[in-house]
């Protein structure tokens, strides 16, 4: 699984961190998404898909 993010689209809702804290984080100054792991292991795949699905700004892209 390959994950990419678009910080210019992000609106800092925090949903991705709530879904997969091992893969996504937020900048302290404005809450914008930071990608911690662009190739997350298989056991996190469901959480990462969930994160992408609930992102209100469609800022997370997944390639399997």
């Amino acid at each position: 699984m390959k994950v990419s993010i678009d910080q210019s689209r992000c609106v800092a809702a925090g949903s991705c961190v709530a879904a997969a804290a091992a893969v996504f984080d937020q900048r302290d100054e404005d809450g914008i998404v930071v990608l911690l792991n662009a190739s997350p292991p298989a056991d996190l795949a469901d959480d990462v898909r969930q994160a992408a699905a609930v992102c209100p700004a469609l800022a997370i892209t997944i390639e399997d």
Binding site: A12, A13, V17, Q26, D28, D30, G31, P56
Partner: protein, 402 residues
């Protein structure tokens, strides 16, 4: 295809206080987009399907600019005051909206909210202590549902403890439907003046909380004191009555579904509690009066074409009761996977304070029923008054005993 047209907003069915209005559900069952006529006689797109709401709310060709002709205003007052309202997160599009949004988001990151949890727990316990020490029956709205979110926002903003009482008093009056328009406006002005003063002080002497964060940006010339104070009032008002409604209306729903209340009472697993709160958000969908948008270009969706300049209304509760996404939506099922709900909206305008709201609800629901296992309604169900005409649905009071 004949077009379905409903009058919006419409009433809920008597005896079904939690279900969205039946006529809205009926048009949603027939097709994902229909038309709704609003207070001024104008007709707009009515987007009911879950997938279609998601697409519309995240589409950059869909605007929140209320000054565009044909915008479906909430009411006469909103329509008449459009020219007097300054730009805010509620009436701008990207990139102007992006600037406002990023000034407001810092206190609501998952990490910052996690740090507030011990404080939320402490305030919840103190309010329950005071309630149990007082007379019964009592009103849960006054005892817990309203004061908790106000205290948390005071803390998050960085309002000094000595000013909490003043702040709470005016915060309650500002959203109190029983207050006169003058009283409400006076309390809003008091709060705005107070917050402008506090921001100005923090420019000189930094302290804790969002007010100090924004004061630093005032000092750097990124934002004016007036803009900052206005954002602070928005944070206060938006985060105050909404959470209060979820606590009181949610408690009413759980008292009607004791086997579901037991999920909060008996579970020590934070994941179970977190999922259960998502289902409460879906089931109650308190933002009841439809998000308002306007198309800036033609948009093909759900077999229809929304033309540039067409108004769009997005009734969030209907998508949250879309049976294709949430089977048997009228069943409150706290073990359901409900995270795809639209209770906080969707797209770039989705609720800024949603992580704080989640933390408050997770802590309040799991603490109240554990500490007060005999909690019971102290009135008849048909005696309860609902906020049918408010932007956020709820109960005006919830008499409880134990």
């Amino acid at each position: 295809m004949t077009e379905a047209l409903i009058e919006f907003p419409s009433a809920r069915a008597t005896g079904c206080p939690f279900a969205p209005p039946p006529d809205q559900r009926a048009v949603a069952a027939a097709r994902p987009l229909s038309k709704a006529r609003i207070w001024d006689g104008s007709t707009h797109w009515f987007v009911t399907g879950h997938a279609e709401q998601r697409a519309i709310l995240s589409d950059p060709r869909v605007s929140m600019d209320e000054k565009r002709p044909g915008f479906p205003h909430q009411n006469l007052n909103m329509a008449q005051t459009t020219d007097h309202r300054p730009p805010t997160i509620f009436n701008t599009d990207a990139p102007e909206h992006t600037r406002f949004r990023r000034l407001m988001t810092p206190p609501f990151t998952v990490k910052r909210v996690a740090a507030l949890r011990p404080g939320i727990q402490r305030y919840t316990d103190e309010l329950i202590d005071a309630m149990l020490a007082g007379p019964k029956p009592t009103d849960l709205v006054d005892a817990l549902a309203l004061p908790l979110p106000t205290l948390m926002i005071s803390e998050m903003l960085g309002v000094p403890y000595s000013d909490h009482e003043f702040f709470q008093l005016h915060a309650v009056v500002a959203v109190d439907r029983n207050a006169t328009a003058e009283e409400g406006a006076r309390s809003s002005a008091e709060l705005g003046g107070y917050l402008a003063q506090l921001i100005t002080e923090r420019v000189e002497t930094p302290g804790e909380g969002w007010v100090s964060d924004i004061a630093e940006k005032v000092r750097g010339g990124e934002v004016t004191v007036a803009e900052a104070a206005q954002m602070a009032v928005v944070l206060l008002i938006a985060g105050h009555e909404t959470s209060a409604n979820m606590i009181a209306l949610g408690t009413l729903a759980l008292l009607q579904n004791p086997e579901q209340l037991a999920v909060f009472r008996d579970s020590d697993d934070p994941r179970v509690t977190a999922d259960a709160v998502e289902e409460m958000l879906r089931y109650l969908s308190i933002a009841q009066h439809g998000l308002r948008r306007i198309a800036t270009e033609d948009i093909q969706i759900g077999g229809e074409v929304i033309r540039a300049g067409d108004g769009i209304i997005v009734p969030l509760p209907i998508a949250n009761w879309d049976p294709q996404v949430f089977p048997v939506p009228e069943r409150l099922d706290l073990h359901r996977q409900a995270r795809a709900h639209h209770a906080f909206g969707f797209g770039i305008h989705q609720c800024v304070g949603q992580q704080l709201a989640r933390a408050e609800l997770q802590i309040v629901y799991s603490t109240l029923y554990r500490r007060v296992p005999t909690l019971a309604l102290a009135t008849e169900l048909d005696q309860i008054e609902y906020k049918t005409d408010h932007f956020a649905y709820g109960v005006t009071a919830l008499p409880v005993t134990w």
